[in-house]
Amino acid sequence: MTPSLVIPWGSADWTAIAPIIVIALAPLLVLLADLTLPRAARRPAALSLALLGTAAAGLVALAGWGKPYVAFGGGFVLGGFTIAFEEIVIVATLFSLLMAYRLGREDQTAGGLALMLWSAAGAMLMAGAANLMTIFLGLELLSLGLYCLCGLAGRAGAREAALKYLILSSTASAFMLYGMALLFGATGSIQLSALAGANLSAPLFAVGVGMFLIGFAFKLSLAPFHVWTPDVYEGAPLPVTAFMSVATKAGALAVVARFAYAALSTPQSHVLLQPLWILAALSMLVGNLAALAQTDMKRLLAYSGVAQLGYIVAGMAGTTAFGLRYAIFYLAAYTFMNLGAFAVVALLSHDREEGSRLSAFEGLGYRQPVLAGAMTFFLLALAGLPPTAGFTGKVLILAATVGAGYAWLAGVLIVGTAISAYVYIKIVRAMYGRTTGAEIKRPVVPSSPLPWIGVGLCALATLVLGLYPIAPSDVLPLVK
């Protein structure tokens, strides 16, 4: 390797990460606005700038479609795959921002927004990361922001959530990092594509794969590495929970998918991924079963997320080309239906109380029919009922698993879905069922009407994706 004073990367490399740069610079403007503007204008300005910055990053990312490029010596790969995940992260960020008008105290809002955008940048980096180092960098960027964000509410629960997340996530990161070290030791390269040629029989490699996957199983909340999820989701402020429930998952999923497809796609290496599918199956069951007994919407959605991620990972079983497409499709569907549900919860919150107790939903169908209708729609989608993206997504996942020869996984999926029906429809029943005694009268003073935009757009997207599924078709060649 000849040392060179010339930076070996040209403008194309920087273009490849342009969206990340945009979304990483936007927080600077947000903070600047917070410093300079009069008090009353700070919050709106900060939020608008954050939204604009994220949207701009989304547009910039779209501009890269169809221009595959391997940037930074293989550290970052731009392609349909990357852009798909980047866009999902951006959408998640946008909808989370819509709920984030009152994130933290008034003087914390701008900082919170900035942290969220930086976390998003980390997730986007993970979407394109193709060597171990960028993966680690993206993951930590994402996590460090989230540690802080979790504690941003004035509740003891938030601080507890932050601490738990910090300790557990760091531990998992350490496992992953050690796994990376072992992988590097087994192959001598940090490029994922270099792993494809590795000696599969070396225990060093196998254990490395295992530890690497543990780290991401944790991030994806796959059972039994999901234990942190409900507590953290419940404690964190609502917009942060919403953000975590999608953006973290998207980033981690991108890495796992790339790892599985780029590094372990040979038939011999399938056995190395077998535990992942078992974790997926476990997640579907554990997530849905545990959700049965929940009374808090955020906790319930946490467990539901465990199960949903199980479905998504199951889609990739057997690492088939179509499987990846449908996993991404389902992730997109999950993004909308999940964030839609969070947006409804955000609209139900008032004052200091987040409207996440299930009791807040009782009789909602009679108090706020439109909101209840939207919530019903999202819940149906999460339960995999038509006419929603959740239904179509589930069909595709089933097709993928069956097509890949993992019929048992499809069977578990069906069982999990059957259990989940009770979980989700229980809320529908609370909204429309006969209420005990006099109908509950709750003052509904939404802290901000912005989540309505989220509700509307998510509903629309969930419907459209359901009936016109635009499965990303050319994602595979760009996985490296």
């Binding site: 179509f322 209708g373 009922l385 097709a399 529908v428 599924p469």
Partner: protein
């Protein structure tokens, strides 16, 4: 046009939530008008060409393909007719919301019956559960919603099995657009390796929905708790989804597996036939009597479908429609009784006929159709089915299936006489006889019951969506 038939009621139903609460009573007539229009439009579009919109191209082809030929035509007619009649006769709190849900239900079921694509079929299959569940939780007399859960979990499990089977079918065959005869290639029969599993998935869904013994335990509580109008539509039409599925999905696509499953289905059908009949004999809740009688009747149709005999298949089609007509009629009239007397207990009711001759007359006719009185529609189906069964060589099946006919006479008369005849019960509320409007609501059903009984000819031709396909499974002996 065909998709409009399915989508318009759903959209109108959702829009109905914007209807002013002050005009709650008028919402019902809006619903009747929509259902009536749907009926007329269906009636006039007997030869409507198929419609298809592309949906999925990968991993298998799936299209929003709709057709109104064959059996679909008759079932949509039945659906719209019973919905119109049920809504016209309904009297319920929060009428606007109820009508809205009923319209959504009607639209979803129309979609099910016109679907020519398996995946679209599965979509509507699951979709139609939702309004029924919502009606159950919102209008059920009990607070526990146990019946609603039972309904949902049973049927959803079936629906998921259907979904899995559909996905597997699509992956194997490359297309789910296989139910129609006119578009797409003719479906090939699936081989034995996957066929059993896929068939099992379909069959499970259909058996639960019908329901066939022993998957029936969701039904009595659901029928008992549903408001009469909804119970009428669900029992008359929704439960036919299962039999329809056997007729148009598994019979043409999986003849091998159909034949293999024949002994099992004969046993299930026969057990259900007898089981439902004797249980109906001892129920006190009038609606449960009808529910268990359905179990009995539908078991017979199941046997007929699996026998593969042309005569029995024709009879099955007639009986599917006949059961729809008379069970809708029964639920509607029993609903009118319940509205007046605030009870459904046969032991408690009695002697209503003296002061409610119109109600008694309505109940007489529908009950007679239900017990298979020769000349009415139930008989036409029964005689064709049983003659066909005997012809196929299923002599004992035909013989045993005759016994429940006698029991049916007993429980239907017990139902009718328990409510309408005997000495008048002193402490029941005294309410006026059925109004002219209420009579008018049941009249179309009665007319259809008689017409179908006298001449089921036009229906007999509609044994499937594609007669050419069905011939593959017709077992000639």
């Amino acid at each position: 046009m065909i998709w409009t038939l399915a989508l318009a009621p759903m959209l109108l139903g959702l829009l109905l939530y914007a209807w002013p609460r002050s005009a709650d009573a008028a919402a019902k007539w809006f619903g009747v008008a929509v259902a009536g229009c749907a009926f007329v439009v269906t009636l006039l579009s007997a030869n409507a060409p198929d419609e298809s919109v592309r949906w999925l191209q990968r991993p298998f082809t799936a299209n929003f393909h709709a057709g109104l030929g064959g059996l679909s035509y008759w079932l949509v007619l039945l659906l719209t007719l019973t919905t119109a009649c049920a809504l016209a006769s309904t009297r319920i709190s929060r009428q606007r919301d109820f009508v809205a849900q009923m319209l959504v239900l009607m639209g979803a079921m129309t979609g099910l019956f016109v679907a020519r694509d398996l995946l679209v079929f599965a979509l509507f299959w699951d979709l139609m559960l939702i309004p029924v569940f919502l009606i159950l939780v919102a209008w059920t007399p009990s607070k526990s919603s146990a019946s609603a859960w039972r309904y949902l979990i049973y049927n959803l499990t079936g629906g998921l099995a259907l979904l899995l089977a559909t996905a597997a079918y699509g992956m194997l065959e490359g297309s789910t657009d296989v139910l129609g005869a006119t578009l797409g290639r003719g479906a090939t029969a699936i081989g034995p390796a996957w066929g059993e599993w896929i068939f099992a998935g379909f069959a499970f869904a259909f058996l639960v929905k019908t329901p066939v013994w022993p998957f029936h335990t969701w039904m009595p509580s659901a029928y008992a708790d549903l408001p009469p109008a909804a119970a009428a539509v669900v029992s008359a039409v929704q439960s036919k989804g299962g039999l329809y599925g056997f007729l148009v999905v598994t019979a043409p696509l999986m003849p091998e597996q159909m034949r293999a499953a024949l002994p099992l289905m004969f046993v299930l059908g026969l057990v259900g036939l007898v089981y439902g009949a004797v249980v109906a004999l001892v129920q006190d809740d009038a609606k449960r009597v009808v529910a268990y009688s359905s179990l009995s009747h539908l078991g017979l149709i199941l046997i007929a479908i699996f026998s593969g005999n042309p005569l029995a298949l024709s009879g099955a089609v007639v009986y599917v429609l006949a059961h729809g007509l008379f069970s809708a009629g029964l639920f509607i009239v029993l609903g009118q009784v319940e509205q007046r007397e605030e009870t459904r207990s046969i032991a408690r009711l009695g002697g209503l006929g003296a002061r409610n001759p119109r109600l008694a007359g309505s109940l007489t006719i529908v009950a007679l159709a239900a017990l298979g009185l020769p000349g009415l529609c139930g008989f036409a189906g029964e005689i064709l089915i049983l003659t066909g069964l005997y012809q196929t060589g299923a002599v004992w099946v035909a013989g045993i299936a005759l016994v429940p006919i006698i029991v049916a006479a007993a429980y239907m008369l017990r139902l009718f006489q328990g409510i309408m005849q005997g000495p008048e019960v002193e402490d029941l509320p005294e309410r006026a006889d059925a109004s002219f409007l209420e009579l008018l609501a049941i009249a179309p059903l009665v007319l259809a019951i008689v017409l179908l009984g006298v001449n089921p000819g036009p229906v007999l031709a509609a044994r499937s969506l594609a007669p050419a396909q069905l011939s593959a499974v017709e077992v000639q002996r």
